[in-house]
Symmetry: C2
Subunit: 613 residues, 2 copies
């Protein structure tokens, strides 16, 4: 079998690939960051690349996604393009900063009592009469500072260092410890230097918050796209990748850990601090990210009955995962509720204190899965609604993530007005823009209750008349022209097709059904819900009025909607700063009742009803 | 600098050594087992080797230890012989079986409840309604078997294996666990296969007992000389070696661990069992061996105020120490009392139940240090008396260990009779033989109260007359010819010199002073002691009458002496078989009061008195 050289521009990465493999495989093998929204299985038409020098005929699948003009420019789909020659391929530079990543969140204060502390002690000198071991004399002093340290253990590496360090430092040392173990020893008093980083690992984005563990102060925030997007946009396509490739899980874990290790550096660089002063890290994420982070197979989460390997909190040494912080640093991974309600949801509850408040609240975090929690301190129920990636731009003909070029807000007034992220010409529509447009359709009667795009002759609402000329025919059905081709960045029109509306209906139907089934489970009425908490990126960028107009959120609750930003990130920070909060996360994970929608008799009816407008 | 080749016969090991290094250094570097009683510092004259092919002039030090005849045969001292040419060197084969190593011990039964168990469980299948994680379903079943497993943790490597193993085994698995953690998972029911090995690591010898952890039955015993003897006969010379050589502690630890790993294989081979069925190991040993086993520096034990790094029990993964048993196997190291009263003494108390019995008992374990424990369930006090290596044959002109060729028992009747280990011609005298001879001197009046060897004219006891002709002059003083040169294996006479008597007096003076100071500490009289328990090799081979005759043990206690064999080994076995006993060891270590003889005002007086006969 021959090997061919593939060069990726503008990075100038080179890789030798066997004859017949695809550009997608070359991209993954080379480690270049690139986005395969459908996981590279030919279902989205978005992994566009440009062949330089050589030209190839389009494949049948490419013909259904790409225009003649694009072919003439050498544009192809990476997942469809096979390598039969040396190739030079231009990739769009994946600039992380062009993405809107949600970093802000509601703040909650907690008493600072971090998972890892430093304690400065002056150990007694040994005496001939009482030949107490080095460790014993150390523990005596530690337990004077905190009685709970009386039976504290010691990590073997710290024990090995102890005798020399204690003497070199004239018995004045700083102990690094969690509540059960001495993790390390430092000479002198270093107790003022102790940092932690709270991570929220999303399917699409990762955010890290650098915190001073003495003061509880947030020092910096950094975020990045989750580099695993090259293995698929959603958890199911990533799990498929992990299962079908030798070392698939190992490769995905390594990719993730590298990105996190880089983020650690980023947060520190912003404030000129050092990796060796970071002693603890907390991790929240959905159950699939949680498993991949740990290198545990997500195989059994992806298939019925969706069972995780572990749901309890777990902690590891940072060195076990090759994360470069202080050598004695630890990583605390928050617990999960079920295969599709993860540690991120636990963290949202932690941050919003739904479990402590007697008011009934509804929390929603919409991504490719919508995690929904309902209840109060009396009882909390949760579920996961399979929204699919429509809200993140996939499966929508002109859909895209909330990045530069995306229409993020849309308004039907006398004429259509919209805003574009980055203020350039539009390239597509992100989730919040889509919601505004469909809400407009509903309110103007451009679509009917079942979601059909009407012909202008069927319009009833007089205000809809202004938009008659936007109704076009596409794929033998009506479509709505949002931006004509001469006003877009790429020269293709931006439309809403009938298929797009169906994709949105499936997504909002699932969320709506989830909410209604939880309401039934608690045997309450919608009006008993005191607050709707929208967590996560999509919930925070979307217009709540639009969400209620299309029935994603029950209409009665429009006035009760509150954005809580990246509440999962806040939960991660709280756990980092407080043992009590970390322990509470375990309590939350084990008491929140999980409802499997697929096992609910009423689900299909609720789903069908939820799909209507 | 030139390198020369040194070949060791009969092993045919080759090593290249730099010009000017010694044969001793070559032996240590090559890893060949060899005995340096004084640690290779030129103080004993016992590291004899034979140069083949080449001849060298004797050094001044060699002249004081070796005879003309020996020089003519090419005999040299390894520590004195420098390498200035390629050399072929004959070493005596260090056959472990020629040494008498104490393996037997008093047996005590305990309830079998080992430190590591196996539990067979049939885990429930996961269900869609209750999506309990694999771990949760496993823990539910485990806690039905033992309620204390409800909050059991899981080792990360076991967690990684869990999802696949549980499914491949149709949910029928065997869990390997200690009381706090699941260590491993095996398919099907393997609970009948679980072995453990209890070790007693002495300064001179190592014994391993292979135990079936289901039945508590001892399956085999193996023993070996501690290969660290090449770094010195006693703990002080070994600590000196560790401190003075780069990686000294690492090298000593590796040497020890290799010997233990080989012993593991030996115990298993005897009964045709496999390393992967061994799941736990217990370790007892003096504090210095304890530290070296763990790779902790013994530096601060060797110097005032003799402080160990840790005295508490500690456990490690077998893989951390490169011991080849089941990959999830663990090593439990029993606690120590002080720098010179180690885990072996704790194990002796465990085995003899001194801490549970209201009768006052005295336990003595004599090696280069004599560990002494006195008391009852009410109070136990302990001390370590620096006996020096006299009882092990070092510092005695014709002294040797209890190996082939050693006179181990001696009787002055009408004529002198003795027994030799291995039944050949005698080569020297071991500790028990020395005791018998000196006891005879005392009873016959051949030496006076202060230990002076009298001239025949000073003899008072008529029975002493028969031995008049044995009084010879050596080094300007009287000496006693025990075996003339024509009756020994090597053709040199075996004598007791005045210096030998002084060495013995120092040794027995220290032990005697230790016993008396402990008696004072408890404010009791000798007759309140109900039993004298002799533990360890020397205590078990010696004649108690001789020990009392020379005043090593108070004369009033002669009728109360009981041999308890390798009681330290028994303690190690008990801890292996029972959590309760292991926990009791911690209790013993933390409650037995340690008395530092060097800090006692009365010590010098007691020592001077103890030196007399």
């Amino acid at each position: 079998m021959n090997g061919y050289k593939v060069v990726f521009k503008p990075f100038d990465n080179e890789i030798i690939m066997p004859e017949g493999s695809t550009i997608k495989e070359a991209i993954i093998k080379s480690g270049v960051d690139f986005d395969f929204p459908c996981g590279g299985i030919g279902n989205c038409g978005k992994c566009r690349i440009k062949l330089l020098e050589k030209s190839l005929p389009p494949t049948p699948k490419e013909q259904s996604y790409l225009t003649e003009k694009e072919f003439s420019q050498g544009i192809h789909l990476a997942c469809e393009t096979k390598i039969h020659d040396n190739l030079t391929v231009e990739l769009q530079k994946n600039d992380e900063n062009i993405h809107n990543i949600l970093q802000w969140s509601v703040e909650r204060t907690s008493n600072v009592d971090p998972l890892i502390n430093k304690t400065y002690v002056e150990v007694d000198l040994p005496s001939l009469e009482e030949q107490k071991s080095d460790l014993k004399r150390l523990k005596e002093k530690l337990s004077l500072k905190n009685i709970s340290y009386q039976n504290i253990k010691i990590k073997f590496s710290a024990l090995k260092d102890l005798p020399d360090i204690i003497r070199e430092a004239q018995h004045k040392i700083t102990v690094i410890n969690d509540d059960s173990e001495i993790l390390g020893i430092e000479k002198g008093n270093t107790s003022s230097k102790i940092l932690g980083i709270a991570f929220d690992i999303g399917t699409t984005t990762i955010v890290g918050y650098l915190i001073d563990l003495n003061t509880g102060k947030e020092l910096s925030v950094s975020s990045t796209l989750n580099p695993q997007v090259k293995f698929g946009a959603d958890v199911i396509s990533r799990t498929t990748y992990a299962n079908q490739n030798v070392d698939g899980i190992k490769m995905m874990q390594t990719t993730l850990l590298k990105a996190i290790d880089k983020l650690i550096g980023d947060t520190l660089n912003k404030v000129s601090l050092r990796r060796e002063d970071v002693y603890s890290i907390t991790i929240v994420g959905n159950t699939c990210m949680h498993h991949i982070f740990l290198g545990l197979t997500p195989r059994y989460i992806a298939a019925i009955p969706y069972v995780p390997v572990i749901s309890e909190p777990i902690n590891l040494n940072a060195s076990d995962l090759n994360l470069h912080i202080n050598p004695c640093g630890k990583i605390f991974i928050l617990p999960t509720i079920a295969g599709f309600v993860g540690a991120d949801t636990v963290a949202v509850i932690l941050a919003t204190e739904m479990d402590k408040n007697s008011d009934i609240k509804l929390a929603i975090d919409i991504g490719t899965n919508g995690e929904i929690v309902l209840g109060s301190s009396k009882k909390l129920v949760s579920c996961s609604a399979a929204a699919g990636p429509a809200f993140e731009g996939a499966q929508i003909s002109s859909g895209m993530r909330g990045a530069n070029g995306a229409i993020d807000h849309f308004n039907f007034g006398k004429s259509m007005t919209y805003t574009v992220i980055g203020d350039g010409k539009p390239e597509g529509i992100c989730g919040s823009g889509l919601l505004d447009i469909i809400a407009g359709f509903v309110e103007l009667g451009i679509i009917n209750k079942r979601g059909k795009i009407l012909s202008p002759s069927e319009f009833i609402n007089p205000f809809a008349k202004s938009f008659e000329k936007c109704i076009v025919t596409y794929d033998n059905a009506n479509a709505f022209l949002v931006v004509p081709e001469d006003e877009t960045a790429h020269g293709r029109p931006i439309m809403i097709t009938q298929n797009d509306i169906t994709a949105l209906q499936l997504a909002k139907g699932a969320i709506s059904a989830g909410i209604n089934i939880l309401i039934d489970k608690l045997a309450i009425t919608t009006c008993e819900i005191k607050e709707v908490l929208l967590a996560g990126a999509f919930g925070n960028y979307m217009n709540p009025h639009s969400a209620c107009a299309i029935g994603l959120i029950p209409k009665d609750l429009e006035g009760k909607v509150k954005m809580v930003g990246n509440a999962a990130g806040t939960g991660s920070k709280l756990a980092l700063l407080s043992r009590t909060e970390y322990e509470r996360s375990n309590n939350i994970a084990s008491t929140v009742k999980y409802i499997e929608l697929g096992a609910e008799k009423n689900f299909n009816r609720a789903f069908a009803k939820g799909m209507q407008f």
